[in-house]
């Protein structure tokens, strides 16, 4: 589904050039849920943004569904296949657009018909009733906003969903709701996830395999079973697992 090979992402021009991702390599199979973990600044979100086409300065190969991507352009077919959910639900919804406006515009841009019916269906899918349809973002809680953002991402009926720490801006009880929603949606629609998180327990709950990142490099790709056993091959991985031990459910 997704193949990333020798991916380098950088910001700025020399001499101020910062290499955010160096030689990243991983692949995600159809229907799999893949985690990217690491501390802040390790480049995990940058990889997602480069895949989504939001950062034009990268080199290497990214292929979705076997089709290689160009550096700064994404075509319609890409937007229909790949969608993204952002980290901060307070920043990812236009403050002047109601839920209805957001979803209607998205559906129209994706060339869908039956917009009215689809909006109702989308809101149902993410567990928001009809009562939320005409609200503005400031009338929604953080968790509700994130549900709207997920509905927007699902509007195109994508197969690959890029999740950029979708729960880190929410409080703990809401986190669980959103994670369960994402797990249900994946089962229901047969989605493939690439999920960025700094929280190992979230990745342990959601993913099948994961890549551990440090300083822009992928240190290790491992299975979630190995993560649960605490069996990292690299020092950094074991360190990371130990550091998050306090939070891991027993």
């Amino acid at each position: 589904m997704l193949n990333v090979k020798d991916l380098n992402v950088w910001f700025g021009q020399p001499p101020e050039r910062v290499d955010a991702v160096k030689g990243a390599e991983f692949s995600v199979r159809q229907g799999e849920s893949f985690g990217l973990v690491g501390e802040s600044g390790s480049g995990k979100s940058t990889i997602l943004r480069a895949i989504a086409g939001l950062i034009p300065t990268w080199s290497g190969d990214i292929a979705v569904d076997g089709k290689p991507l160009k550096a700064d352009r994404r075509d319609r077919a890409f937007f229909k296949t790949v969608q993204m959910v952002f980290q901060d639900p307070y920043a990812s919804l236009h403050p002047r657009h109601s839920v209805d406006a957001v979803l209607a515009e998205t559906l129209r841009l994706q060339g869908m018909d039956n917009i009215d019916k689809r909006i109702t269906k989308l809101l149902d899918d993410v567990g928001l009733g009809k009562g939320f349809r005409f609200r503005y973002p400031h009338q929604l809680s953080g968790g509700q906003r994130q549900r709207v953002a997920i509905a927007r991402a699902l509007a195109a009926e994508p197969r690959l969903l890029l999740l950029d720490e979708p729960t880190s801006a929410l409080d703990v009880s809401v986190q669980a709701e959103i994670l369960n929603l994402l797990a249900d949606l994946r089962a229901e629609h047969g989605l493939t996830y690439v999920m960025v998180s700094h929280d190992l327990s979230v990745v342990g709950h959601m993913c099948d395999r994961l890549a551990v990142m440090q300083h822009g490099r992928i240190v290790e790709v491992m299975s979630v079973d190995a993560l649960r056993r605490g069996a990292g091959e690299e020092d950094y991985t074991r360190h990371l697992i130990r550091a998050s031990g306090g939070y891991q459910p027993a």
Partner: protein
Amino acid sequence: MSNTISRRDWLLSDAPQTRRQARLGAIYQGWLTFRSNKLAMVGLIILVLLIGMAIFAPLLAPQSPYAQDLGARLQPPSAAHWLGTDGLGRDIMSRLIHGSRITLFIVGTVALIAPIIGLFIGTVAGFAGGWVDQVLMRVTDIFLAFPKLILALAFVAALGPSIGNAVLALALTAWPPYARLARAETLTIRHADFIAAARLQGAGRLRLLIRHIWPLCVSSLIVRVALDMAGIILSAAGLGFLGLGAQPPMPEWGAMISDGRTYILDFWWVAAMPGLAIFTVSIAFNLLGDGLRDVLDPKGDKS
């Protein structure tokens, strides 16, 4: 809609049922915020009165603004002439009432032209970035460097002196600050996640600009325009003073002040009355701008 809930509850509902209810509710919410600012309401009332005065000027004015009576020149305020008479014996109150039309014309024209040019140039520059940004902002700098009155002089030389040309000159020199404001706003939102999300849905640049960026820039521009109106009225008055704007015998408020300048020590009301009118309207615009800022703040929070 059932009759058991009041119209107010319907408007303020947390869960609007239709697009129309949501939109009306948002407007009503804004109106409530605005209304809670007493001073802004004062400003709004003054401006509504001004508009009413302009519409019904011929009915309200006790005399013609042009009727001279040299026998009754420079009369102090009295029962016959509430605000006194000027150097040619014209009733100052009638001239003020008719002058409100000219004031509104100035305000309206500048408020239409300048912010629209500024919004367009500023958002395009901020959103496109790169050389487009450079070119547009340097053009803006050039316009900023033009003294308003010199440009107005050039306009008047080319098109003939009239209030219309003077206002056009004002509008064409007033847009650069709006362009800078709009550009600054655009720079803060162009990397926002909601823009990135729309881009991921395949939204083109034009759509992002018009549907996503403009609505967020417009509110701060409106506030800025309302706050700038006082200055624009004063600039137009200054042009009138130089003989480049309103031509005699037009009852333009600024020109009336400069008429009264000759007598200012002995017959204070000739200059003071139009001065008071300009002062009142300017303050009203400032108060209105302040109230609009409360309403149009996208976060919708009162501090």
